[in-house]
């Protein structure tokens, strides 16, 4: 199914460069060229044959060490698209170079295709720092509007001070020695060792 859809996209949008990524486990997906994502989405929505009328979510994934063989750091943006008329579903992917805080990766906004993209793209911008070009209202959505950085990037470090408050103060940190589970495991091990020792001693005595 993914192969046919990729062929269809290549035939409708020139330069879409759609590739079906067949997975052995889990879901397969379709990778398209970043600069044509808007045209691809429009084509999927407009086509009589497929009628992908719902954008369910946009999920960004950060790969600082690249995907598979390719070692260029990328951010992958996944569009979960479904057709509630034909009862089908597909994952569209684009991969953009990761960039840095001053130079965010750029992807065309698909708000003009599905309004659902509005908040989903805002979330993706907030958490992963993807700049959606042409978005009507590019604000943060989950974090405060004056927050710095993009938390779901793998190399994210929280800012130290926010509005005069210390972020993640030391006495609230979950260091291993204070960790309840670790402590319980240590106590359990000690108790087991003591019991074993006692058993061995009682054997010796008898």
């Amino acid at each position: 199914m993914h192969k046919e859809l990729a062929d269809y996209l290549n035939s409708v949008v020139s330069g879409a460069d759609a590739k079906a990524l067949e997975a052995e486990v889990g879901d397969s997906s379709i990778l398209v060229a970043t600069e044509h994502i808007l045209k691809v989405c429009q084509a999927l929505k407009d086509s009589e044959e497929h009628q992908y009328n719902v954008l369910q979510t946009i999920s960004g994934v950060d790969y600082p060490e690249g995907v598979g063989e390719d070692k260029t750091p990328v951010i992958e943006v996944n569009y979960m698209i479904a057709s509630f008329i034909k009862n089908t579903e597909v994952i569209l992917k684009v991969r953009v170079p990761r960039g840095d805080d001053e130079n965010l990766p750029k992807v065309d906004s698909v708000c003009s295709v599905w309004i659902a993209a509005d908040w989903q793209e805002r979330e993706c911008y907030d958490l992963l720092g993807v700049d959606f070009v042409g978005h009507p209202d590019p604000r943060r959505i989950l974090n405060p509007y004056d927050w710095k950085g993009h938390p779901l990037r793998k190399d994210y470090k929280a800012q130290e001070v926010y509005q005069g408050m210390t972020v993640y103060p030391e006495d609230k940190q979950n260091i291993p020695e204070q960790d309840f589970v670790v402590e319980q495991n240590r106590l359990n091990d000690e108790a087991k060792a003591a019991a074993k020792k006692a058993r061995e001693e009682s054997k010796k005595d008898s």
Binding site: E24, D27, V54, L55, T57, M80, F84, L142
Partner: protein
């Protein structure tokens, strides 16, 4: 007397004359702490006297970095975090997460565990909709239904407490099955509860649904058309309330829903237009009856056997990704899980239906009275824990 004399000093410079009166939109902040917003949601409402001209939701007050936490904890350890997203339908949150992982590792779930899963999730759906019924009535100014609904919901919570040890956040559905078996006595009590619920539901429909004031407040208010729902990606009772027959339990059956016989209620516009607040209310009432139907079938069909499948002790997912969605009390919940082959997930993304539904508020709000806007917020039944994650 001519009109000039009538206008005070007669030279047209009266400050109360039509041209001189200034009018501008008044900004009112609803929330973040407001009983009508069901949690910490702030809606910036621009009002023209009593009419809403523009509504801008500001969310994120409950943001707890669910997705970031998941990247640091192993697969089993994440289940309690899932609970805390939608704390009113925690069983559904667990089920979706576990199903996604089971699909990746290809575990066979024992039949008894499948039945128990369906029973508890449908009970949870009833509990969630009962809470909606009560709280929605409070939003519209009726206090009594709240007490009736919470009386019944309490019975479900007590059953859950016996089964799982907790009233709201269960950590009951585990990868491979369920944590604890349901005893025969508890099954009998679930059956009794289901038998008693149907007359209660009739009572609520008479007390709330057919109430003249309630109908006046909800019929023809906040109409959501199917096109609008598709465009925003709305699912669950919102989409069904707009007259679209879409239920994942029928369309993409997971667990054992394929074998069960139930109907999908859709909005019919009995009191007004299809897709208004009353339809969304009515769809939820009907869904509770369908849930009772499902539970009864499961109670008849449940068989003896183990409750946990074979899952490796150190759980590692094969490299790959999955997008798994389930039908929750409030709509579709999707988990996008990416694995790099390790013990912890590389990325977990939760698609929350409440998030999507909240984004519809700016579209519905313009032109409504403020009191009707409260009715709309109530009718989409959002839980802010799931919106903000």
């Amino acid at each position: 007397m001519d009109s000039k004399e009538n206008s005070g000093n007669g030279n047209g410079h009266n400050k109360y004359s039509g041209e001189k009166l200034k009018s501008e939109l008044l900004t009112v902040n609803m929330g973040p702490q407001h009983p009508a917003t069901h949690g910490v949601l702030r809606v910036e409402v621009k009002t023209d006297s009593e009419v809403v001209a523009e509504a801008i939701p500001h969310i994120g007050y409950l943001h707890r970095c669910f997705e970031k936490h998941c990247e640091n904890i192993d697969y089993r350890g994440n289940i309690p975090f899932c609970d805390r997203m939608d704390y009113l339908a925690a069983m559904h949150m667990e089920l979706g997460y576990c199903l996604a992982i089971e699909k990746m590792i290809g575990t066979e779930i024992p039949r008894r565990a499948e039945y128990i899963r369906v029973i508890v999730t449908e009970l949870q759906r009833i509990a969630s909709h009962l809470l909606f019924t009560g709280v929605y009535a409070i939003d519209l100014g009726a206090f009594t239904p709240f007490l009736y609904c919470f009386d019944q919901r309490e019975k479900i919570l007590r059953l859950f407490e016996e089964i799982s040890g907790a009233r709201l956040l269960y950590n009951y559905i585990w990868i491979g099955g369920v944590w604890n078996d349901i005893k025969d006595g508890q099954l009998t009590r679930i059956k009794e509860f289901c038998d008693n619920l149907i007359p209660e539901l009739d009572k609520y429909m008479n007390l709330v649904g057919q109430n003249k004031i309630f109908v006046e407040r909800t019929a023809n208010i906040g109409i959501m058309t199917p096109e609008m729902c598709y465009n925003y990606g709305a699912t669950g009772p919102i989409l069904r309330g707009s007259g679209v027959d879409w239920d994942l339990r029928k369309k993409k059956p997971y667990s054992i829903y394929e074998e069960l016989d139930f109907d999908v209620p859709v909005g019919e516009g009995l009191k007004g237009t299809v897709g208004d607040c009353w339809d969304r209310f009515a769809v939820r009432q009907q869904e509770m009856r369908e849930s009772v139907k499902i539970i009864k079938q499961c109670l008849d069909g449940i068989e003896e056997g183990p409750i946990m499948g074979k899952v490796p002790k150190v759980l590692k997912l094969p490299k790959g990704e999955i997008y798994m969605k389930t039908e929750c009390a409030r709509g579709e919940l999707g988990y996008h899980i990416v694995s790099d082959g390790g013990k912890v997930p590389y990325r977990v993304k939760a698609k929350s239906s409440c998030f999507t539904h909240t984004s519809m508020l700016p579209e519905v709000a313009p032109g409504l009275l403020i009191a009707d806007f409260v009715a709309v917020i109530g009718s989409i039944d959002i839980v802010l824990g799931e919106v903000d994650r």
